[in-house]
Structures are given as structure tokens and as C-alpha cells.
């Protein structure tokens, strides 16, 4: 048995070796070994030669017994390995084989299960593909193989002592082939039984002859190398996993995404991104401003600006006062007024005013940079993989399940996410082939826009009117509660009723929900701008008032201090007077701190309102709907209140406007960013929980646009808008005289000039003054504008080219499809060619073919009808076409060329092409057919 097995194995291995030689993957180890082998080959020549001769002898002998194994036959058929068979045996073989085949076919029909033929078919298909891929290389290799075989035959017949290099090379090649087989065996769709037996034999062979060829060492090295490769792959995968685990809240967001779709998840991703940005801002402000001040600045109580005034000291620690950010909080490092105008502080000579100014600017600089960079990256991403949309549904269907899931919870999430993603794609699809009355649609859209513009104008006017009125109210005494709070009430009413109104109007437009969301966002944004406007107006009024007040206080303070000194000096010049307690010094209103407090208050109240809205509007409502539903007259869940949907537009805008507040306020309240970081952190957890616990997915779950650029665009706009007031106050308002790092200067930016003059050499100041010259700045701006224009034009051109290319590819694909469909018409010609060959096939059709026919073709002739078989085969494609969808003709094509390609090269057979090499024509004949089968 062992001997026999070895023989069958050799055949297989030869086949496999030939087959795999041509493949792309290279076996590095074997190359190495070859090199090594060259050195030692001379010494070992004698023994190896003997071994190889023995081997080849065995081969010859065993070949006769080969037909016993069915699997071998299939292999032989595939690869035409018969070329190394001596031609004199051919006839005998053929007879033998025919008999065998008939028997086997009978047996197989009984034995094999339902799926086995299918599998075989697929195997063969696969193999065919490989052969076609192989192309020329394979042919070359085959030539080599034949040479080897002839050499082995000659060596066999010639006398034993002559040891040729060829023999050695042959042995080497055999071993290599086997090694290759061992390494590639996993790639073969064989049954395990077969794999195992083949593997064992191959290993035995390699072990036996590797020693002879001096390859024992290489084996270990090879194993080690492979191990390391696997380890490396595993490590890379683990590292990937680790990396995803390091992304904060990734799992949370994925979970939300799987139930609510990518559009809701996009909000959370935006929130996370925002958190990251704010963390950097927080680090910047805390690291460079607050912590140096706390560590090295003058302590609390040392200066008037760092002390609670005497009048407020009683209540400074009350909660109600602290809650309004007055009292001790107001006189802390969290606000602008606390900082001293000392040029340098501490032993580090840290220039705090300078640092304060630079940090204030760099907060904006960094934010701008990061927003624009992320916009650019998103734009890149969205264009990078935009063209792979040929197989959306197929990929979703066949590749979306993750086969590594072993946890029920994960599996549930995965099911939900697959369903959601299907729904998203379905919405897209439905949207794209909706046929509709374009004119009506256009009319409705224009109408909706007109309505919304009317709404916006109306609310804008209302805000303007109310603000005007409030200015008159503020001058009057004894106004009522309503008059005092009119602006706020109107604003919140607008904010409450306008968005739903917009949504109702937007229903007219019937946009895709994704586009609808953008419109909605844009409109509410416009509405909220009014909010911002009123807020800023009120603030400016406040500031102007404070500035006027300051002038008065400045004199009082001056005179008080002077008087104090004078009185103490006049009374008693020998005793040093007790210094005036800083709490008693009269001080200005410090408008910067007022502005900062205003922003902090606004932020905190915004946080509270958001959280309470979520709690009441979502959670309580969900609880009510869920539990009261048991004892209610109508179905609460399906009827009126139902569960809330996640309000993407409202949340995104809330986030964006909140960020605007932070940017505006952070210059005057350095601690604001810290509050915001806390807010974003809690809001991440809170909103995730609220969404998962009390919201329902949207009726039409839609896919978020690939880039979050719309959100980013809004953010950029708000950043710009919030930059304006800050820049205005820095550039044109005088800082307070007795608080803040810039006190005593005319303008805040004077700190830069001061630094340049005092700390830098003279020429820097000169350069600076040149650069600041408008004559230089205006051309520079002009140049930038022109560059932007040019780049814009270039990118437009690229876009057009891209669209063109895409169109071309689509057309090509269509063409290909059409061609395939038309293949049926070209079939007759191929058939003629095949008819020429049928005489040879009649007698030698392999059993597998019969199986194919049995399953696929309606006129699948029984294997017993051998003479008529060829005709049946040849005719079947036609019959298949005529028989419409019942028969899959491609299957027949798959089978047929293989048979031809394999059986043509029999030496005894008339070679129709007169090619000297057996297998090559076979392959050449097969080739035109393969691409069809392979594709």
C-alpha cells in the first residue's frame, strides 16, 4: 500500500508542482536552498544520484498502477502530466483506463453524495482559473518538466554510473515541488482525507531527500520563518484591535450606529471630535495661562484685583452667589480680571501677559487650522473611495457578517447594524429611481424656500423689534417682569416653534433625508444667528456702559489711593502707615470679567437646558409611553406621543453654537474651556444612554454623507463669526485700568509691541514695523486670493476629469455585460472547433464530465452512451441557449475546454496544430475558452 500510495502521490505532486511553479508567490526558502545546494552538490553527487535513479525507477513502475486512484486521474486530466509517460505504454493505458472509467463512473454515481459533484466541479473551475493565470510561465515550466522526465528516462535506460547534473536538478526540483505543495496545500479545496494523505507522503519524501540534498537545516529555518510570519500577522491584527480600542467611545458609537444608523452616529462622531479639539484648547489654556498664574503669580488677597471687595465679602461664599459666578469665583484665575499686569512672574520670569495674549490668539489659530484640515481630509476621503459603488448590495449581502462574532450581544448588534445599513441603502436606492413630476417638485421646492425665507425674515424683524423695544425699556424705571425678559422669551419661543415649522415646510420639498437634514441645519442655523446677534448686541451695550462707568471710578480710585498715602504720610512720617487693605480699594467694573461671566453663565444654562430637555422630552416621555400604555385609551406607542426620535439637527446646532460661545468667551474666561470639556464628556455618556434607552430610530434611516463636512462648514462659519467680536474688542476697546493682564495699556495688543521692543534686538522691531506696513499686507492678501482662485480652478478641472473617467468606466462595464450576453451568438464557431476534436474525446471523456452533465444539462447523456457523447456535449450549449433559463450553459463551457485541453496532448493523438510540444497546444486550445469560464 505504501509503495503504491507513493506512486500516486508522485504523480499528484508532479502535477501540483507544475501547477504551482507558475504561480506568483515565490518560495523564498527554496531559492535559498538552491544556493546552498550548489555548494554542497559536488560532494553528495554520488549518493543523491543513486537515490534519484531509484526514485525514477519506482516512478516508472508505479505509473502502471496509477489508474486505481480516481483522484489521480482527475489531477492528470487537469495538468496533462502524461507527457512524461513513455509512449509505448500509451495504448495499453488507454484501454485500461477506459475500462476503469466505465466502472468508476458507475460506482461514483452510487457512492457520491449530492454535493460532492458540485464540489468537484468547483475545484476544477478553480484550477482552470489558475491555469489561465499561469500563462506563459506555466508553459515554460512544463517544458522544463518534460526535459526532466526525458532525462530521467534516459538515465534509466543508460548505464547507472553516469550521474548527470540533470538528475540532481530533477531531484531538487521534485523536493521543491513537494515543499511547495506542502506550503500551498491549504489553498486547495480538497477534502481533508486527501489532503492528509498527500501531505504525509510529501513530508516523507521531503524528509527523506532533503537530507540527501543538504536541506535539513533549511527546513528548520523555513519553519521558523513561517512561524515568525504568522506571529507578525497576528501581532499586526492585535495591534489594529488595540488601536481601535484606544479610540475613545468607539464601541459606544458603533452600538448607536448599529441601531440608529450612521446619521445619528455622525453626531456622536462630531461630538467626539469636538471633545478632542476642546481637550487641546484646554491643555493650551491651562498649561500656559492658568497653572503658571496659580503657581507663580501673586497669591489671592495680595492685590485689589485678586480680592473680593469689602461690600461683597459677606455673601461671597453663598451658593446662590457662587451659582451666578460672582463672589469668590469671580475673583479667581478662571476669569480675566484676576490676572496681574506684571511683565514677568515667578523665578522663571514667565511673561504672563504675553502668554495670555498669545494663547488667546492661538486658540483661534489652532481651531481654524484643525477645522480646515479636517474638512480637507474629509473631502479627500469622500472622493478617494467614491467609485466602488458597483456592488453595494452584493457586498452588503455577502460580506457583512463577521464570522468571528461569538458573543450573543455582539451578534445582536451586528444583526441590527446589517439591517440598518440595508435600510439606508434601500432609501438611497428608492430615492435614485423615484420617477416623479419634475415641474411639480420644482414648484414645491421654490414654494417651500419662499415660505421659509418669509419665516426667517419675520423672525429676524421680530428680534430686531424686540431688541429695540428692550433698549427703550432699559432706560425706563419700574418696568414689569415681562418687559425685562421680553427678548429672552421671544427668542426661546422662536427657537421652540420655528424648527418644527421648518420641518413641516420641508416635507413639501421631499428631499432625500440626508439632503433634507442639510437644509434643515442651514435654516435653523440662520434662525439661531438672530439669537447670537441679540446676545452680542446686549453684551456690547453692557460693555459700553461699563466703559463709561470706568472713567468715573478710575479717578475715584486714583484719588483714594493718593489720599490714603497723603494722609498716612502727613500724619506720621516715622511710622509706616498700615497699607490700605486691597478689599477696600474702590475698583472699576472690569468689563472683561463681566463678559466672561456672561459667557460662562450662558454655557452653564445651556448645559442644564439641554440635559433637562433630554431627561424630560426623551426619558420621561419614553417612560410614560412605555408604562402608561397598559392602561390608556389609545395606543401611545404607535399613536400620538410615541417615542422621540433623535433630533440630529437640533443637537448638532446646539453643539456648534455652544462651541461658538466657548471660542468667544475663552479669551475673557480662561476657565470656560474646562467647563466645556466637562460638558462634552458628560454629554457623550448621557446622550448615548438617552439615545439607546428612550429614542426610536428614524422612520427612514439614512446614511450620513461620507464626509462630515457640512457640520464642519457650520463650525467654520461660527468660528469666523465668533472671531469677529473678540478681534474687535482686542483691537479697538481699551482694557480696564485695574484688572487683567493688560491693565494700564492703551490697547491689548500693545503687549506684543512691548515685548518686541524690550526683549528683542532692534532690527526685529524694524522688520516687524515693515511687515505691518499696509503696503505689504494688501499685496500679500491679493496674492493669496489669486492663489485660492487658481487652486479652485484646478480642482474643478480635476473633478470634471474624474467624473468623465467614472462615466467611462461605467460604460465599459455595461459594454462588458453586453458582450457577455452576446457570447451566445459566437458559440457556434467555437462549437465547430470543438467538433473537430470530438473524435478523440468520445473515447476518453473523464467521469467528472459525466457528472457535470448529469446535473447541469438537460440532455446530459448517460456515460454509457459513449459514442454519442461528444455530439451531445457539443450540442448542449446550443440546446442550453434555446432551452432558456433552464440550463446554465456556462457550466458546460467550463467543463468542456478543460477536457479538451487535458486530453489533447496525448502523444498518440494527432496534433491538429502540429506543435512539437504536447501540453502546450492543449493549453493553447483551452485558453480562449478559459477567460469566459474564469470570469
Amino acid at each position: 500500500m505504501g509503495k503504491k500510495k507513493k506512486s500516486t502521490l508522485q504523480v499528484i505532486l508532479e502535477d501540483a508542482g507544475i501547477e504551482f511553479d507558475g504561480e506568483v508567490e515565490t518560495d523564498t526558502e527554496s531559492e535559498e536552498d538552491e544556493e546552498k545546494n550548489k555548494k554542497t552538490s559536488k560532494q553528495r553527487l554520488r549518493e543523491t544520484g543513486r537515490a534519484s535513479r531509484l526514485q525514477s525507477k519506482k516512478q516508472e513502475k508505479d505509473k502502471e498502477e496509477k489508474e486505481d486512484e480516481e483522484e489521480d486521474e482527475s489531477k492528470e486530466e487537469d495538468n496533462g502530466s502524461q507527457q512524461n509517460r513513455a509512449s509505448r505504454r500509451k495504448n495499453y493505458h488507454r484501454k485500461n483506463r477506459d475500462g476503469k472509467k466505465a466502472r468508476e463512473e458507475g460506482g461514483q454515481k452510487k457512492d457520491r453524495g449530492k454535493t460532492v459533484p458540485n464540489k468537484d466541479q468547483k475545484e476544477s473551475e478553480n484550477k482552470e482559473k489558475k491555469t489561465t493565470k499561469r500563462g506563459k510561465e506555466g508553459e515554460n515550466k512544463q517544458k522544463k518538466g518534460r526535459k526532466n522526465s526525458t532525462s530521467s528516462a534516459s538515465s534509466n535506460s543508460s548505464d547507472e554510473e553516469s550521474l548527470s547534473e540533470e538528475e540532481l536538478a530533477m531531484l531538487k526540483e521534485q523536493v521543491e515541488q513537494k515543499k511547495k505543495l506542502i506550503s500551498t496545500m491549504r489553498n486547495k479545496p480538497w477534502r481533508m482525507v486527501k489532503k492528509l494523505s498527500v501531505l504525509r507522503e510529501a513530508q516523507d519524501f521531503v524528509e527523506k531527500f532533503e537530507g540527501a540534498l543538504g536541506k535539513g537545516k533549511g527546513k528548520k529555518l523555513y519553519a521558523y520563518k513561517m512561524m515568525m510570519a504568522k506571529k507578525w500577522v497576528k501581532f499586526k491584527r492585535d495591534f489594529e484591535n488595540f488601536k481601535t480600542q484606544c479610540i475613545p467611545w468607539e464601541m459606544k458609537i458603533k452600538e448607536v450606529e448599529s441601531h440608529f444608523g450612521s446619521s445619528v452616529a455622525s453626531y456622536f462622531i462630531f461630538l467626539r471630535w469636538m471633545y478632542g479639539v476642546n481637550l487641546v484648547l484646554f491643555g493650551l489654556i491651562f498649561g500656559l495661562v492658568i497653572i503658571p498664574e496659580v503657581l507663580m503669580g501673586m497669591p489671592y488677597g495680595s492685590l485689589p484685583r485678586k480680592t473680593v471687595p469689602r461690600a461683597e465679602q459677606e455673601t461671597a461664599m453663598d451658593f446662590s452667589v457662587l451659582w451666578d459666578f460672582e463672589g469668590y469665583i469671580k475673583y479667581s484665575a478662571l476669569f480675566y480680571g484676576y490676572y496681574n499686569n506684571q511683565r514677568t512672574i515667578g523665578w522663571l520670569k514667565y511673561r504672563l501677559p504675553m502668554a495670555y495674549f498669545m494663547v488667546g490668539i492661538s486658540v483661534f489659530g489652532y481651531s481654524l487650522m484643525v477645522v480646515i484640515r479636517s474638512m480637507a481630509r474629509n473631502a479627500n476621503e469622500s472622493t478617494a473611495d467614491g467609485d466602488d459603488d458597483n456592488f453595494i448590495f452584493s457586498w452588503k449581502m455577502f460580506t457583512s457578517w463577521d464570522y468571528l462574532i461569538g458573543n450573543p450581544e455582539t451578534a445582536d448588534n451586528k444583526f441590527a447594524s446589517i439591517t440598518t445599513s440595508f435600510k439606508e441603502s434601500i432609501v438611497d436606492e428608492q430615492e435614485s429611481n423615484k420617477d416623479e413630476n419634475i415641474h411639480l417638485r420644482r414648484f414645491l421646492r421654490v414654494l417651500a424656500n419662499v415660505l421659509i425665507i418669509c419665516c426667517l425674515c419675520g423672525s429676524g424683524y421680530l428680534i430686531y423689534f424686540v431688541v429695540k423695544r428692550s433698549q427703550t425699556f432699559s432706560k425706563m424705571q419700574n418696568v414689569g417682569w415681562y418687559e425685562r425678559n421680553e427678548v429672552e422669551i421671544v427668542m426661546s419661543l422662536l427657537g421652540m416653534f420655528c424648527p418644527p415649522l421648518f420641518e413641516t415646510i420641508a416635507a413639501l420639498e421631499n428631499y432625500h433625508p440626508r439632503i433634507g437634514l442639510k437644509w434643515q441645519l442651514g435654516r435653523i442655523f440662520a434662525l439661531f444667528l438672530g439669537n447670537l446677534y441679540t446676545f452680542l448686541l446686549a453684551l456690547m451695550d453692557d460693555v459700553n456702559e461699563k466703559l463709561a462707568e470706568e472713567d468715573v471710578v478710575k479717578n475715584i480710585t486714583h484719588w483714594t489711593l493718593l489720599g490714603h498715602h497723603n494722609s498716612s504720610a502727613g500724619n506720621d512720617s516715622t511710622v509706616t502707615p498700615p497699607p490700605l487693605d486691597p478689599a477696600d480699594v474702590p475698583r472699576g467694573p472690569c468689563w472683561e470679567t463681566t463678559v466672561g461671566i456672561e459667557f460662562v453663565r450662558l454655557t452653564v444654562s445651556d448645559i442644564l437646558v439641554t440635559y433637562i430637555t433630554i431627561l424630560v422630552g426623551d426619558f420621561i416621555r419614553a417612560c410614560f409611553v412605555r408604562f402608561v400604555n397598559y392602561c390608556w385609551c389609545w395606543d401611545l406607542e404607535a399613536g400620538f406621543p410615541s417615542y422621540a426620535e433623535f433630533d440630529i439637527s437640533g443637537n448638532v446646532l446646539g453643539l456648534v453654537f455652544n462651541q461658538g460661545m466657548i471660542w468667544m468667551g475663552s479669551f475673557y474666561a480662561p476657565g470656560l474651556v474646562g467647563i466645556n470639556v466637562l460638558r462634552l464628556l458628560t454629554s457623550m455618556y448621557f446622550q448615548c444612554w438617552a439615545v439607546m434607552s428612550s429614542n426610536v430610530p428614524h422612520a427612514r434611516v439614512f446614511k450620513a454623507s461620507k464626509s462630515n463636512n457640512f457640520y464642519m462648514g457650520l463650525l467654520l462659519l461660527i468660528l469666523f463669526l465668533s472671531l469677529l467680536p473678540v478681534a474687535y474688542t482686542i483691537m479697538s476697546l481699551p482694557p480696564s485700568f485695574d484688572c487683567g493682564p493688560f491693565s494700564g495699556k492703551k490697547r491689548m495688543y500693545d503687549v506684543i509691541q512691548e515685548t518686541i521692543e524690550l526683549d528683542f534686538p532692534l532690527f526685529v522691531a524694524k522688520i516687524f514695523s515693515y511687515v505691518a506696513n499696509p503696503g505689504l499686507i494688501i499685496p500679500a492678501i491679493l496674492l493669496m486670493v489669486l492663489t485660492i482662485y487658481y487652486l479652485n480652478a484646478v480642482s474643478k478641472a480635476y473633478q470634471r476629469a474624474n467624473a468623465e473617467l467614472k462615466k467611462k468606466m461605467q460604460m465599459q462595464r455595461e459594454e462588458e455585460k453586453n458582450k457577455r450576453n452576446n457570447k451566445a451568438s459566437t458559440n457556434p464557431m467555437l462549437q465547430d472547433l470543438e467538433d473537430l476534436l470530438t473524435p478523440n474525446m468520445k473515447t476518453e471523456s473523464p467521469p467528472k464530465h459525466a457528472e457535470d452533465k448529469k446535473i447541469e444539462s438537460p440532455n446530459g447523456s448517460s456515460p454509457a452512451r459513449k459514442p454519442g457523447r461528444g455530439e451531445a456535449l457539443a450540442g448542449s450549449p446550443m440546446a442550453g441557449r434555446r432551452g432558456a433559463a433552464l440550463t446554465p450553459p456556462s457550466q458546460v463551457f467550463v467543463a468542456q475546454p478543460r477536457t479538451l485541453g487535458v486530453w489533447a496532448p496525448y502523444p498518440g493523438q494527432p496534433r491538429p496544430w502540429g506543435h512539437p510540444l504536447g501540453p502546450v497546444p492543449g493549453r493553447g486550445r483551452g485558453q480562449p475558452c478559459f477567460p469566459r469560464a474564469a470570469r
Binding site: N118, F398, S400, G406, N407, F422
Partner: protein, 177 residues
């Protein structure tokens, strides 16, 4: 994503340590039915485990296609696996198996009625299993039509292996299957 450690331990299935892996796999195979499967496997006993036992393995338990997977790997197509089929299954489903091999078996898995084509009925079954029948009938028809339209290259209204492979070979995350 949860990675099952068991599934990639046998990457080395046919490397020098393949015997160890085989031993490990045998342990897994044995533990499913300790009284049927002998510990000693040197004599190659002809033992098969029914599908019911195998689909309860933690690796397969949550998989919507577990029955199909087991059926595709069983030699008789009925779902009972001999030990060799079992090893086969693990090796194909392992991450190191090449794309082509996976494509072949994936095709078999998705071909529910084993007619060597993925037809509409197969697609519907696949979809229902993937989404736990949460899509409406129209949505299912729409998706199936789209899949056929996208992937069917020869225009016969169903997916042959060539179509399937062409489609799957371009998929970005197919290797995970």
C-alpha cells in the same frame, strides 16, 4: 469587535506544528460528544457528529449561516461532520486561508439549494438570515434584484461561481469571512 482566540490558533494548521493543532482540534471535536468520539484517533475510526452538536460550538453559535456552513463542509451534504471535515472547516474559516478558497466555500454556503447557482431564493434566504427577517417583502425583493443586477455578468438572472468570485474578489472586507 470580538475576536475569538480559538479561531486563529490553528493558523499553523499545516505547518510543522500542525500535529499539535490537530490534537487541539481533536480535543474540540471530542468534547462535543465525549462518548461517541474516541480519544484514540490513530486507527481513523469512521465517526461522524450530527449537525446539531456542531452548530452549538461557540464559534458558530451566533452565526446566521451555521447550518449552511456545516452542510457545506460535510461530505454527505447532510450536515454531519467527520473529524476530517471538522478540521477542514476550521482551516477554511481560519484567517490565513486564501481568498480563492474562501470564495469557493462562501459560494457553497450561500448556495442554499445546492444547485451551483445563487438564485433569487438563495438571496432571499441569505437576506432573511442576515437581518432576522426585519425587512419587508418589497425591500427584500428590491435588494435581491439589485444584487442580481450588480453581480450577474452573464445575464442569466442568477449568480454563477464566476459572477460570485468576480464580485467577491473586489470586496474590501471579504477576507474576514
Amino acid at each position: 469587535r470580538l475576536k475569538n482566540p480559538l479561531l486563529f490558533e490553528q493558523e499553523q494548521l499545516f505547518l510543522p506544528v500542525w500535529q499539535i493543532c490537530r490534537f487541539w482540534l481533536h480535543g474540540r471535536y471530542h468534547e462535543m460528544a465525549p462518548n461517541v468520539v474516541p480519544m484514540d484517533y490513530t486507527k481513523d475510526p469512521d465517526v461522524k457528529l450530527p449537525m446539531q452538536l456542531i452548530i452549538n460550538m461557540p464559534e458558530l453559535k451566533e452565526n446566521p449561516f451555521k447550518e449552511r456552513i456545516v452542510e457545506s463542509f460535510s461530505e454527505d451534504g447532510e450536515g454531519s461532520l467527520s473529524f476530517n471535515d471538522f478540521v477542514d472547516m476550521f482551516s477554511v474559516l481560519s484567517e490565513m486561508a486564501p481568498r480563492e478558497l474562501k470564495a469557493i466555500y462562501a459560494f457553497k454556503i450561500y448556495d442554499f439549494n445546492t444547485d451551483n447557482f445563487i438564485c433569487k431564493a438563495d438571496l432571499e434566504k441569505t437576506l432573511n438570515k442576515l437581518t432576522r427577517e426585519e425587512l419587508t417583502a418589497e425591500e427584500i425583493t428590491l435588494v435581491c434584484e439589485k444584487v442580481i443586477e450588480e453581480a450577474d455578468m452573464d445575464g442569466d438572472g442568477k449568480l454563477g461561481f464566476a459572477d460570485f468570485e468576480n464580485m467577491i474578489s473586489k470586496a474590501p472586507d471579504f477576507l474576514r469571512i
